[in-house]
């Protein structure tokens, strides 16, 4: 892929949203005499345009991606890489010279994530049509969030990574806190503080590692020869390295989220507006597992082995706990549709953690593929909830019923999403879950079979929800013309904009379910390299 | 006893005090102006007294000339201002013109 204007495709894909943001800021809000924002359509289409450009670049990256290059700790294995000096600060006390690079590149782990981010952002921008207030600010924030997420996935400099990581938090906070539901402030602050705690752990380790290698380059941090032998993370300091690994793991596990750090997720999902839920579940959760694969695994391969069993337990517990909590939604408190899906996310991300704990190529590939699939599937689920919420202004599962007759197309699409979430063969979720199970079984047979209960529980709660919403009799309030005062809601079927968001995802889910080879080809070399790297302990 | 510097200074001091009193107490702006003239005169007496007895010779007198010049300009401008005030307020009672308070 050619460099355009002297900047590589990764820079373009990451900073395009910034351009969009500037354009959005330049467009006047243009309120007419009634106070209605006249240029809101323009904001929407600008956002869609920029995310679409991003998607095109992402597809271009995919098409020009060379399968078989390794990455992880080999700089030559990264593709589309750009390496410039960002800034250098000299003569700091203690730190000495601090050199921060703009070092980006992708390998088999980040390439699927780039693709996923581009897809989810594009799709979620369609779902953003339901946002009605302060549209200018919303889309500006949205694009900033997009930028942050892309940046996290391309960064190979730890400092840069951290900058993007934090950059992403802020718009998320506002997007939940301003455009969210009734308890938005609580949810936003909870989200923010939770993830900030994780960031603090990460920051501590970053500083520690910096003193070890005197560089923020991630690849240097993976090389035992680059470490100052006196530093606490140098090879041989197993205890300290384990502590650092654990701190990082907790930091990322909060983001995943793994039990018991998951309680921000249901709140954030329930309160966030639909497109933000989509992005939250579709991309943000992946950052935890991505961080583990990019940072935890190769930087602390010795500690990974030490904690392997523990990680597998974390995965198993998350799977079962999330699934049971999702099932428990039918019994406890408000039966909220979004909360159900939020808990199912906990469960599904548990599979990813379980797969990563296996340390073999099936499990790892499955985990990465599951990250991608969970992104597409859960995005679809949240958009689906958003569609019904726009019509009914409720997410209570008890308020629905018998919609299959009223909204047949919607029901069909929803069935695809639900069965994909259950892991039905023919959908991408099946392939990834299968690979995770096959891989994890080689490492921890008993745990794997126990976590297999998750697929039964998954079927139970998903089908339960499906039945609640679509089957049975239509409640009286759902028939008749639109009349919010009497709680009678219109039940027009899904519209074109919503379909535009859902159909690409559905095609992707089914397409990858039938022919997953493109994804696996993309990540094979990297994953095998990582597995081998961790197996030999990386020299630590 | 011969008339010395001290006498002149006492004279100018008394004149100054009277002028000050006029400046502070009178309501009419023109009366205030008159008080000012008294003060300036007391200052001039001092200058010239110093010129006579203080060993500064004619420099004191030159200063007095400038003071007179200043007095003239001051009187001219002050009167112009007073006229202006009169045009605006239809009176020149200076204690009622307390815009500075706000």
């Amino acid at each position: 892929m050619q460099n355009f204007l002297g900047l590589g495709p990764l820079t373009w894909i990451t900073f395009l949203p910034l351009l969009g943001m500037i354009i959005i800021f330049l467009i006047p809000s243009g309120k007419d005499e009634k106070g209605k924002e006249t240029s809101k359509q323009l904001f929407r289409w600008v956002t869609i345009g920029f995310t679409f450009l991003q998607l095109i670049i992402a597809i271009g990256i995919y098409l020009n991606y060379t399968a078989g290059m390794t990455g992880i700790n080999v700089e030559g294995g990264f593709q589309f890489r750009e390496h410039y000096n960002w800034f250098t600060v000299t003569g700091l006390p203690m730190f000495g010279n601090v050199k921060v690079d703009y070092f980006v590149g992708i390998d088999g782990i980040s390439a699927p994530m780039i693709l996923l981010t581009a897809i989810v952002c594009f799709v979620a921008s369609f779902a953003s049509f339901s946002i009605k207030k302060q549209i200018k600010g919303y889309f500006a924030m949205y694009l900033l969030l997009d930028l942050g997420m892309m940046g996290v996935f391309i960064s190979l400099d730890f400092f840069l990574f951290y900058v993007f990581w934090e950059l992403m938090l802020l718009p998320m906070y506002f997007l939940i806190g301003i455009w969210g539901g009734p308890r938005k402030e609580y949810a936003a602050i909870k989200f923010f503080i939770y993830t900030l705690v994780g960031s603090v752990f990460m920051l501590l380790v970053i500083i520690g590692l910096y003193f070890g290698v005197h560089s923020f380059n991630m690849l240097d941090m993976m090389d035992p020869l680059k470490y100052d032998p006196t530093s606490i993370f140098a090879p041989g300091h197993g205890w300290w390295r384990n502590v650092a690994f654990f701190a990082l793991f907790v930091g990322f596990a909060i983001k995943v989220p793994s039990v018991p750090f998951h309680t921000w997720l249901p709140d954030a999902h329930v309160e966030a507006p639909t497109p933000i839920s989509v992005i939250l579940a579709g991309v943000l959760l992946k950052m935890g597992t991505y961080g583990m694969l990019r940072i935890n695994w190769p930087m602390f391969p010795d500690s990974v082995k030490y904690f392997q069993c523990f990680i597998a337990w974390v995965g198993t517990v998350s799977i079962l706990y999330g699934a049971l909590c999702a099932l428990g939604q039918f019994k406890v408190g408000k039966r909220d549709f979004k909360k159900l899906i939020a808990y199912s996310s906990v469960s599904h991300m548990g599979y990813v953690v379980l797969g990563m704990s296996s340390m073999n190529s099936s499990g790892m590939s499955g985990a990465i593929f599951q990250m991608f699939n969970h992104g597409t599937i859960t995005s679809m689920l949240f958009i689906i909830v958003g569609v019904i919420y726009d019509r009914a202004h409720t997410r209570g599962l008890d308020d629905f019923g018998g919609l299959a007759n009223k909204m047949p197309i919607y029901t069909g699409i929803m069935a695809i999403a639900f069965f994909a979430a259950i892991g039905l063969p023919g959908m991408s979720g099946f392939v990834s879950e299968m690979m995770i199970f096959l891989g994890a079984f080689m490492a921890y047979p008993i745990l794997t079979v126990i976590s297999g209960l998750g697929i039964i529980l998954g079927a139970a709660y998903m089908l339960w929800a499906l039945q609640k919403v679509f089957f049975g009799k239509l409640p009286d309030r759902w028939s008749g013309p639109w009349d919010p005062t009497h709680k009678i809601y219109k039940t027009d079927d899904i519209n074109a904009v919503e379909l535009a968001a859902l159909i690409p995802l559905a095609i992707l889910i089914i397409g990858l379910g039938i022919y997953p080879a493109p994804m696996f080809n993309m990540m094979n070399a990297t994953v095998n390299h990582l597995v081998e790297f961790v197996r030999i302990g990386g020299g630590f | 006893m011969g008339i010395g510097l001290t006498h002149y200074l006492i004279l100018s001091g008394i004149l100054f005090a009277i002028g000050l009193f006029a400046v502070i107490t009178r309501r009419n702006a023109i009366m205030v102006l008159m008080g000012l003239e008294l003060i300036l005169n007391s200052a001039n007496i001092n200058f010239i007294a110093f010129s006579r007895f203080g060993g500064i010779n004619l420099d004191g007198q030159v200063a007095a000339i400038f003071v007179i010049v200043l007095a003239v300009t001051e009187a001219a401008i002050a009167l112009a201002i007073i006229l202006n005030i009169y045009q605006n307020y239809k009176h020149i009672r200076i204690d009622e013109i307390n815009k500075l308070k706000e």
Binding site: - | M1, G2, I3, G4, L5, T6, H7, Y8, L9, I10, L11, S12, G13, I14, F16, A17, I18, G19, F21, A22, I24, T25, R26, R27, N28, I30, M31, L33, M34, E37, L38, N41, N44, I45, I48, R52, F53, G54, L58, D59, Q61, V62, A64, I65, F66, I68, V69, A71, V72, T73, A76, I77, L79, A80, I81, I82, L83, Q87, I92, I94
Partner: protein, 170 residues
Amino acid sequence: MLEALFYIFAAMIIGSAAVTAFTKNILYAAFALLFTFFGVAAIYVLLSADFLAISQIMIYIGGILVLIIFGVMLTTNVSIVDIKEGFTGKTSFIIAGIFSAITCIFFIYLAFKMPFINHAPKDVKLPNDSTIKPLGKLLMTNYLLAFEVASVVLLIAIIGAAMIARRHDD
């Protein structure tokens, strides 16, 4: 002889100044001011400052006082004959009195206690010829700049005064 003259003129200055300060009638005050200026001019003569004495009479009496009287005429409603303008109030009257008294006493105190008083010559020989020539020389040499500035200031003051006093209704 000179001492008697000094005391006479001093009494005249203080008396007329007091009238200026205390009278309610603004016209009386203006006339009393006339006597004060005369008295001061006389004191200048006693101090052998002839040029200044003449200037005092010409400028103060011929210029400023006339100006003041014009001001009085223009700003006081003569037709209803209420040119008596009172003081700002009893409290301020007393306070101002005390202030002035303190000031007066302070100056007298200074007149006696200032260190240079003792170095001043008791009696200085009066010059015989006029001071006009040396004054003119001084103004044209040492004080040229001040002189020029003063003239500019005068010019500006005249323009300014004319501007300010101009009627604004056109």
